[in-house]
């Protein structure tokens, strides 16, 4: 199955929920509507055989010139044992109130990856059963991998940013 086939199948099935497709890059991808990602993923898994979520990454697209301040979630899908079956899904979210449907019911591994994305980017995965911080401490303030994140001056008496 070429990326072209996958994209056209997705388009045929989901119509305008597939916002955009880009296939002439290193990892061909489709951009999906945030709240539909769960059903798209379920379709990918059940119908197209993507039984393995390789990687789920949060991204903060805010660049230095601040031309955009969107957040994003990238799903790298694969299959086991067929290693040639690869595809990528992306969702773009607004910075405030970033919400995306959870895919933990599709692949259990998404549980921890989504918790990490929540911890690092503050992306809210709607329907996640236990959306808590995973790498940072529970009382940590802010989301460390956002581009505008400032590390705190003090954390439980440990001082930071001391010149």
């Amino acid at each position: 199955m070429t990326p072209q086939d996958i994209a056209s199948k997705l388009k045929a099935k989901f119509g305008d929920k597939i916002v955009a497709e880009t296939l002439d890059v290193h990892d061909p991808f489709c951009q999906v509507d945030p709240m539909s990602i769960a059903e798209v993923c379920a379709f990918m898994k059940d119908e197209l055989g993507f039984n393995y979520l390789r990687c789920l990454s949060g991204v903060d697209y805010m660049d230095k010139k601040k031309t955009t301040d969107d957040l994003g979630v990238i799903y790298h899908l694969g299959a086991i044992p067929d290693a040639s079956l690869l595809f990528c899904l992306k969702v773009i979210l607004p910075r405030t109130g970033a919400k995306v449907a959870t895919v933990e019911n599709v692949w259990s591994t998404a549980d921890w990856h989504e918790r990490e994305a929540w911890d690092m980017f503050g992306i809210d995965f709607v329907g996640h059963h236990n959306q808590t911080r995973i790498l940072c401490a529970e009382d940590w303030v802010g989301h460390a991998l956002r581009k505008d994140y400032k590390s705190p001056d003090e954390y439980h008496g440990i001082r930071n940013n001391v010149v």
Partner: protein, 384 residues
């Protein structure tokens, strides 16, 4: 349970028992670092387990957004510090992929040799510490004796024993001379019979088999669902190895097997299978090193197309390599500058350990230790 209920329960012949929460870690001899599992136990039997990670978190990904590509390489060493060569390789390959550069053949051969040696070292440690988790301390020292030899070779090559910073973007840091290649060849010859020694010491030991067979069974479906890769997935009987299935570097030139668990002592996917996969993988690694040593030819050890501060073109790519623990992926977004816009590390142990609670249910407290050991976790890459 109220007192009345308890009395009723004991009248009926059921012993009213209370579940106990047991906090294993972050400081515990068998959690292989600062890993914490909260176990709910009913006597010796575990009814539920919950893993807590993050004690070693240093936000590697944020650091990489603040230093240029070359400067980020040493930080990748600290991810999976037991197989730092593999991390270097994965990271270098992800940058090279965005830059579309070809790596000289000799550099690729050197990469394969050092990565496979590193894999042997990593598996040796995994096997040794696994024996120790089960209670056999002696095999650990035998494994370390031989791991020491690998580390000596790697030290001779790049001057470091653990955090090599050797595989660089565009090639490797230094060339390997003939004496070093000879050292590798001698090690391969030395190592093969040693594997039998570990088998005699540990693998065929009846108590060891009893402790690992039919313990912590991970079915293939579960393993895939939880994104397990590497020996954990192969232990469940699935033949998946990126070196074979999606050959990167020069792995398509070598003849090697992908060992999978077959339930030799119990059920497919038990601790013994995962252990055995590692044991067999070491032999395959030796085979690869031997073939690479016979094929390697003189040539440049790094490409001259990459400058000290590489600037990949704008774009993103996910590049994965097969590390000792499974699929190590780097998702790299470049904005065209000399610094990564975003570097996400998909660490294999992170996904592997997320299945722990499923495996622990119904096991005994001693089995939890055996299961954690068989997952071969490295907190450096789980917490990043």
């Amino acid at each position: 349970m109220s007192e009345v209920n308890q009395m009723q329960a004991s009248k009926q012949g059921d012993v009213a028992s209370e579940e106990m929460l047991l906090n294993m870690g972050p400081q515990h001899p068998s959690t292989h670092g600062v890993f914490r599992v909260v176990i709910k136990t009913d006597g010796e039997i575990v009814t539920d387990a919950e893993s807590h990670i993050g004690y070693l978190h240093r936000c590697f990904e944020k650091i990489c957004e603040n230093v240029n590509y070359t400067m980020a390489t040493p930080y990748t060493d600290r991810l999976d510090y037991l197989m730092a060569m593999g991390n270097n390789l994965g990271y270098a390959m992800s940058v090279e992929r965005l830059m579309d550069v070809e790596i000289p053949e000799r550099a690729s051969y050197i990469r394969v040799i050092v990565t496979e040696l590193s894999r042997i070292a990593s598996h040796l440690l995994a096997i040794g510490t696994y024996g120790m988790d089960i209670g056999a301390i002696t095999p650990f020292l035998y494994c370390f004796r031989d791991r020491e030899k690998v580390l000596t070779i790697l030290e001779t090559i790049c001057g470091q024993r653990l955090n090599y910073n050797y595989v660089r973007i565009g090639g490797v840091a230094y060339d390997m001379d003939d004496a070093m290649l000879k050292m590798c060849g001698e090690f391969c010859k030395y190592f093969m019979p040693r594997v039998m020694e570990y088998n005699d010491l540990l693998t065929y030991n009846g108590i060891f088999i009893q402790r690992t067979a039919n313990v912590g069974i991970l079915t293939a479906e579960q393993a895939i669902d939880f994104g397990c890769t590497g020996p954990v997935l192969r232990g469940s009987g699935i033949k998946r190895d990126l070196r074979k299935d999606a050959p990167y570097s020069l792995y398509d030139r070598f003849d090697f097997e992908v060992p999978v668990g077959a339930g030799e002592a119990g059920t497919v996917g038990d601790c013994f299978d995962r252990y055995m996969v590692r044991m067999r993988e070491m032999i395959e690694s030796v085979k690869i090193v031997e073939q690479a040593l016979s094929q390697i030819e003189a040539g440049p050890f790094k490409t001259d197309k990459i400058k000290a501060k590489p600037k990949p073109s704008k774009g993103d790519a996910y590049t994965a390599v097969e590390n000792a623990r499974g699929e190590l992926g780097f998702y790299l977004i470049s904005d065209g500058s000399d610094t990564a816009f975003r570097l996400k590390c998909r660490s294999p142990a992170f996904s592997n350990v997320s299945v722990l609670h499923e495996m622990c249910r119904g096991a005994m407290v001693a089995d939890v230790v055996a299961i954690i050991g068989s997952l071969d976790i490295v907190m450096g890459e789980i917490d990043r």
